[in-house]
Amino acid sequence: MAIPFSWQLINLLAALLLLIAFAMLAQRRVTALIGLYAGQGLVLAASTAAMARISGLPHLYVSAALTLALKVFALPWLLHRVIRRLEIRWEVEPLINIPATMLVGIGLVIFAFNLAEPISQMASPITRSTLGIATASVLLAFLMMITRRKAVTQVIAFLAMENGLFFAATSATRGMPLVVELGIALDVLVGALIFGIFFFHIRETFDSLDIHHMEKLKEH
């Protein structure tokens, strides 16, 4: 049984998405992390476009274009600016060392696939794996958010999490209404801006972006 080319393309892109998610989990340099984030955005835009082609829904092209503009160009540029201004290059030692994180990540992926199993049974056989991948990348991004110390990397993780959700929305369920997508895109942009402002405030207060210092805020 030959699977149509565009389906194969989507599966490939989904696999790439998961791979990038793992790469982000393993990456310790902030600039590289932003590059990976942009790459993930590109994959996402491509898969959305492919989905638009298969389903023939024109508004998915719009959301693919939006993803491309926002996640490949605008947000990475914004983040680069921030780290240049804040002079952050390296992530300090993460809370859990990277191999251990990767192992936990594999566990999460298995968990996510198991979880998506009953739902995928109902979906078409081709999108079966995409939902699992989407869930897995959300969980991986969450894991990254937990294990990192710098506020910037946490924000990138947060944005990556949103990517996973977006992938689930477009690939597995053929997209949300355009209005919702526009809203989400705007939210992400505004959210990134707000985070940017917070970075400066955090650094002003603690002279560092290491969230370790925020433990001082705890009431004793």
Binding site: L139, F142, L143, I146, H212, E215, K216, L217
Partner: protein
Amino acid sequence: MSSSIDGINAALAATTAWLALGMLGLLRPHSVRWVGRVLFPISAALSLVLAGIGLASVLKAPQAAVLPLGLPDLLFHVRLDPLSGFFLFLLGVTATGISIFSAGYFRTGEGTPPGLMCFQYHLFLASMGAVLLADDAYLFMVAWETMALASYFLVTTHHRLPEIRQAGFLYLLIAHVGALGILLCFGVMHGTGWQFTFDAMRTAHLAPGWSSVAFGLALFGFGAKAGMVPLHVWLPEAHPAAPSPVSALMSGVMLKTAIYGLIRVTYDLLGTIRWEWGLTVLIAGSVTTLFGVLFALMQHHLKRLLAYHSIENIGIILIGLGLSLTYIGTGHPALGALGLAAALYHTLNHAVFKSLLFLGAGSIQHVTGERELGRMGGLARWLPRTAFLFLVGSLAISALPPLNGFVSEWLTFQAALLSPALESGVLRSVIPLAAAGLALAGALTAMCFVKVYGVVFLGAPRAPKETELHDVGRWEQTGMAWLAAGCVILGLAPVPMLRLLDHVARLLIGQSLGSQALRSGWLWLTPVAAERASYNPIVFLVLIVGVTLLTFVLVRRFYHGRLRRAPAWDCGFGGLDARMQDTAEGFSQPIRHMFGPVYEMERHLPSASDAKPRFHLEIRDRFWSVLYLPLAGLVEAVSRQVGRLQAGRISIYLLYSFLTTIFLLLFV
């Protein structure tokens, strides 16, 4: 019919008018003249009117109404029946005296400005009125909590002192724990109908197990407010902290609203009464009584001492109620009616004499500026009227005939002595024990007030500055005189009072007091039968007055009749000074010795070789170390464990939400 409807409207109008008076106080919050000379006298008149309304409604059939207030589907229900009428009478009579006293008491420059005090005071009064009138759980709880809050602010009038804030917090804490119990009790009692009117609760049929649960919750909740052991700890802290009229109001009336609530829930709403409840109340009451009086004896702070006596008297009331419940539960409603009447009578009596004593304590504090017994003495010389009125209160609380305290305690004894009528051997043996405890408490109370009166008013002044003192003003004297008159009248006219209480008993138990008790004319009080026991206060009065006069005349006639002024108790020794007098601590030392195991004592005795001999004694409440401190420790430990969740690290918080997500994904 229309006149009864008018009764409830009038009661509501009076309650609302109190609220309005409080608001008026806010108009000129700093003017002592406006608040003291205008508002408080009006308030006293209003209280008198309310007392009249209450008295009239005791004789009438219950009247209910629905107010156009409250939540859309949950309107306020009110009802005025003999029970609430009786307590409104109590509230009115006591508040009259206290308001007159307050007119002269409040001055500027002491904590909360008088206008604000006036507002809180009247809010407190109005909420107590609303508690008594409420006919659904909703209005009851709203009024109950308003009462707790208003009194909290009154207690913390001098909120700049940390120990007063502490006392206020303790009071508020226990009040809330108690309110929780009451709320749960109502929750159990509504049955399955989700109707929170008292009418629905009256008709709801509860399984015996559930009704016992409801009773237990009610006893806990109302017991916390009343000061039942072991929930009494707030009383000795809050009463000394509050200004005296407020202590009087709290001790005299607010504790009684808890008794009202207990009676309302147990007799009226729960319906079928079980004797086990009676036994519980009886035991709790006996313990409370003895505990209260034993600790009162050890106090050397006047208002604290009175607070412990409030605990003791609540215990006496609970003994009466416990007897009544036991008798009803075992199928002797006529005896139950007697016990209830005794309890209600004592409720009213305690309201009157304890308010009087607190006002007296307030007067002493105002005049001398002292709170410790050890720094008073010989005050009768400068405060003759206060001394006399305080003496009346002391005699009443010591249950000496012909004053009112005796009548109700005697009635309680009469109820207890009827225990041979019961079938169960256990009850027959427990009740006399309770009666014996009551007798012991009565004697110890008398001893305690001999101590108080002796140390405060007699002897020589212990602190040097007591030489230029003036008795309190007319307002204060009138307020106290009103309450003292109440002590005398309630003591001299027990039969009319008993007739009044008969209406309440008939409403709640459906059973009249023995016909003998009511038929026996004005003079002779015979609760059961003439050959059993009877009491005539007038005869006592005549006898006491007669013997005194006779002695006086005999001494004047047959003794040499010459008058010689010399220092008392000098014994020819000479050089007496104030330090040679017996002190409060010394006077109660034998009791401290006899009941040693009850107290947690820290004592430092001077030895013969000390260069600077020092005597130090501290008596603590055992309940603190046995019950409250472990409880507080437990709560603290649990919160510390919970607090560990708050690591203050973002990663940890994120981990929480991560794990929660995984958990939800896995299981939901």
